[in-house]
Subunit: 133 residues, 2 copies
């Protein structure tokens, strides 16, 4: 039962991630922000928590403006319990030339909202050595 | 019901965090590793995923050997669904003189194991600017 539920949840999350990647490649920060819950939160490295769709849109716009033009998300595991799920994954960021500029990992807490799975808490960090180390 | 459950879960998580902080201050990396599930995982910045108690013990020992002598964990939110819970929190790391050397945020996926809440997935990042930025 739980395994069946998680397989279904994983499929839904992977579909949501495919849409997220597509929006990113189109430079659609507003569309990306709409993938988060009301009160959704990005917890980015080297900055404070970013809360709410307007702030999240500005956050992703800033990432794009800094030259990141593509994101690849690969789900490692996804597990759902009722209206909540967690996902562990790996990300790759690339620039306009397609060169990989960062790789790392993330955990997303997903919530069902209006019948869709939405990102509720989104935290990530780089797997590369810190600058200067 | 869900709120009641989450209040109970939050209390249990805060108690587990108090124990974690105490173990850290005693330099007990093995005790810290025992707070994770079998197959538990730390997803640290600037490195690969650290999986299993032995590797987690070595990871925390390395942090202590690098001069970090204290950790403060403050739960911002905790929500449980059955045997799984997620927590969002803030951390502070300090050195032997008590000086704060890093502050950041974390998400922990907790799982019930042997009747105890244990850390299952543990990801965090600094809120401070990246070195050289």
């Amino acid at each position: 039962m739980a395994h069946h539920e998680s397989a279904k949840v994983r499929k839904a999350i992977e579909a949501a991630n495919a849409e997220f990647m597509s929006l990113f490649s189109q430079g659609d920060a507003a569309g990306m922000a709409a993938a988060y819950t009301e009160g959704g939160q990005v917890l980015p490295p080297n900055g404070d928590a970013v809360t709410g769709k307007q702030a999240i849109q500005a956050f992703w716009q800033g990432i794009m403006d800094a030259g990141i033009k593509g994101v690849q998300l690969a789900t490692v595991e996804a597990e759902g319990q009722g209206p909540t799920a967690y996902e562990v994954g790996r990300y790759t960021l690339s620039d306009a030339s397609g060169e990989v500029v960062d790789t790392g990992k993330y955990v997303v807490i997903w919530k069902q909202e209006d019948g869709h799975w939405k990102l509720h808490r989104d935290i990530f960090n780089s797997s590369r050595p810190a600058p200067g180390q």
